[in-house]
């Protein structure tokens, strides 16, 4: 055991590995922060550079990009409400209002602290619970997935703010938009109307940039010069007290991230929203969520980064990639004649332990890179808005195009921007729309697959303890929501009164 550990440490402690990991985290942070540059894109771009490297060096570079990208997505979400990743749109719910209050640095700091803590916890879970969690993930079939996603949709109540009906309506629109494309079972077109570009459905990134960034730009143009003036960026970052106050939320968010992270196909966005929802439900400052609550930023980032180490569990323990990024990393393993899975733990345990050491170090690197970048990046908030918003618009145009190299995505972004502006004016929250748009395809696919598996028998949704567990959680959450609404009825109206 100790000999293996010593050999692993010797394998890791090469200057190439240390530099590659640091470079990866830095590249990932920058890529994640650019709207239109996604983390999978960053990992894919870095992949060819790993061909000539040692396996451990190449894989650490890719892991660094992955981890940096998860955090980087939150930077633009906080500063200009243009999230770099779907999960970061949750961070923007409170991060952007904080930036508008002149507390961008505090929000960025909290996002970093929560990210690093959650990443560290997720890494520990990878090291200590890989076997147990992998077998848990394997017991997830379509009915279990369906009930998990139904439970995840209860988040909508939390992110709808005071307008529950409008939030539900927005979620319905998101689900409707997710239908566009080809039917997953029969392959027949749905809402394509003969348009080839719509065959593959709508891409997440143009939709989320359109929904969050463009309405802010349009809204800016609808205000007078006096109303546009914002307080300058305050120099104070998040304090130790802020961190201590949010610590429980970060721990809970990390646990949610770890649990959802091990389940293939879930990703960071549901984890971020679920963590946010739980934080709001249990917070003393419930009313402040969505208006600039630091705990909200911590919850979203903890959930998002909690998946980072956990998504590697099914990859390393079972050889099953949980998402696009881990699929690319699996490719990197295979290029170097390595096949992740139970056999790798027997044949290449030294490499596995060396990777674990690198993964643990990546949390520290994330902290260093984040701290170095925040000071300069936060100055974006100091740029006068009459310059910043036109610049954001141009950045969004390039970013939306760069996803798939298609002008159609730019059109999607503009149309969603105008829809989002209309929603903003009508007081319809955008977050439920996005959550439903992300979860919609998973929900429908698993619903129909389950019914096919069960030969049309609906009782398949109540088979096994996992489905009952999630049904129970869903009912409990709904009861709590109704109870909280009734309790706060005298204070909080269902609608906003126009």
């Amino acid at each position: 055991m100790w000999e293996t550990l010593a050999a692993s440490f010797a394998m890791f402690a090469q200057i190439d590995n240390v530099v590659a990991l640091f470079a990866g985290v830095m590249i990932g942070t920058v890529i994640g922060a650019i709207p239109g540059m996604t983390t999978p894109m960053g990992v894919a771009l870095a992949l060819p550079f790993t061909f000539t490297m040692q396996p451990i060096t190449g894989i650490l570079l890719l892991l660094g990009v992955y981890k940096g990208g998860l955090y980087g997505g939150s930077i633009t979400a906080i500063l200009i409400n243009a999230p770099g990743t779907p999960a970061a749109s949750c961070t923007g719910l409170d991060g952007y209002p904080l930036a508008r209050k002149g507390e961008a640095r505090r929000a960025l700091d909290m996002a970093l602290y929560a990210s690093c803590t959650a990443d560290f916890i997720s890494n520990l879970s990878l090291i200590f619970f890989a076997g147990i969690l992998a077998s848990f993930a394997l017991s997830f079939g379509s009915p279990e997935f369906f009930t998990l996603i139904v439970f995840s949709l209860t988040i909508i109540a939390s992110v709808s703010g005071d307008d529950l009906l409008k939030g539900l309506g927005a979620a319905g629109l998101g689900l409707a938009l997710a239908i566009v494309g080809l039917d997953a079972i029969f392959g027949t077109p749905r809402f394509n109307f003969g348009n080839f570009d719509l065959m593959g459905g709508l891409n997440f990134i143009p939709v989320l940039i359109g929904l969050f960034a463009i309405p802010e730009v349009l809204n800016f143009y609808s205000k007078t010069e006096a109303a546009q003036k914002l307080s300058a960026l305050a120099g104070r970052g998040a304090s130790l007290l802020d961190y201590r106050r949010a610590f429980k939320t970060i721990l809970r968010g990390s646990a949610i991230g770890v649990i959802l992270g091990v389940i293939p196909g879930i990703g960071g966005a549901p984890a971020a929203f679920l963590s946010y929802s739980e934080a709001r439900r249990t917070s003393k400052n419930q009313g402040n969520f969505g208006k600039g609550e630091l705990e909200g930023v911590a919850a979203a980032e903890a959930g998002n980064n909690g998946v980072a180490g956990a998504t590697l569990i099914p990859l390393l323990a079972l050889g099953v990639p949980g998402d696009i990024i881990t699929a690319i990393i699996l490719g990197a393993f295979m290029i170097h004649d390595l096949r992740p899975g139970p056999l790798m733990f027997q044949q290449n345990i030294t490499l596995i332990y060396a990777l674990f050491i690198g993964i643990m170090l990546s949390s520290a690197y994330l902290f260093i890179v984040g701290k170095l970048s925040i000071r300069s990046i936060a100055r974006i908030a100091d740029i006068p808005q009459r310059i910043l918003f036109p610049v954001v618009l141009v950045l969004c145009v390039f970013g939306a195009y760069a996803i798939n190299n298609t002008i159609f995505d730019v059109l999607v972004m503009f149309v969603m921007g105008i829809v989002g502006f209309g929603m903003l004016r009508l007081g319809i929250p955008a977050a439920p729309f996005l959550i439903a748009f992300i979860l919609g395809p998973l929900l429908e696919d698993n619903f129909r697959r389950s019914l096919r598996l069960g030969d049309g028998d609906w009782t398949i949704f109540f088979q096994g303890w996992i489905t009952w567990f999630f049904w129970g959680l869903t009912v409990l959450t709904l009861v709590l929501i109704v109870w909280q609404r009734i309790k706060g009825k005298s204070r909080i109206p269902l609608g906003d009164g126009g």
Binding site: I179, R386, I387, V394
Partner: protein, 170 residues
Amino acid sequence: MKLNRNIVAGLCFVGFGALAVALLIPHGIVQPPSVKYRALSPSFWPYIVCSGIAVIGALLLIYELLAAARTKEGAADAAAPATARSAWIAGRPFVVMALLLAIYLTLEFLGFVLTTTLGLVALMPLAGERRPLIVAPVALLLPLALHLFFVKAAQRPIPGGVLDFLLQRI
């Protein structure tokens, strides 16, 4: 009763839901020749979702009608406009929307650099930044820098349009 934004939102939801159920789903979803169970049909889920949107819109409208009946007097006070904005300020988002359409239509032909440069030249003064010493460098350098980043570093084929021959030499 005044048309507040909750009522408009409710009408939008009802309108979209009804339109989808009556027209979009029957004409926009191709049905396979045979489906074993109704729930497996490609249109089953869309019908559920779009009917739900219409129902939510209807509930919002009913809630608003009941609320308006309860607080008729109070609403009249609350409806008083808080600020008088100029027609120009109120219309500016629509000018920007027209610019977005123009940007989309010219992106491929003029190329990203030229289109976004012209876009910045129009958008920055519209936002209130009229100093040529600020507008000119930002409008010229930012699109060029973004083009170079995406083409050289990220290896994305950003269309150069009419400036393609120049941009390829950089």
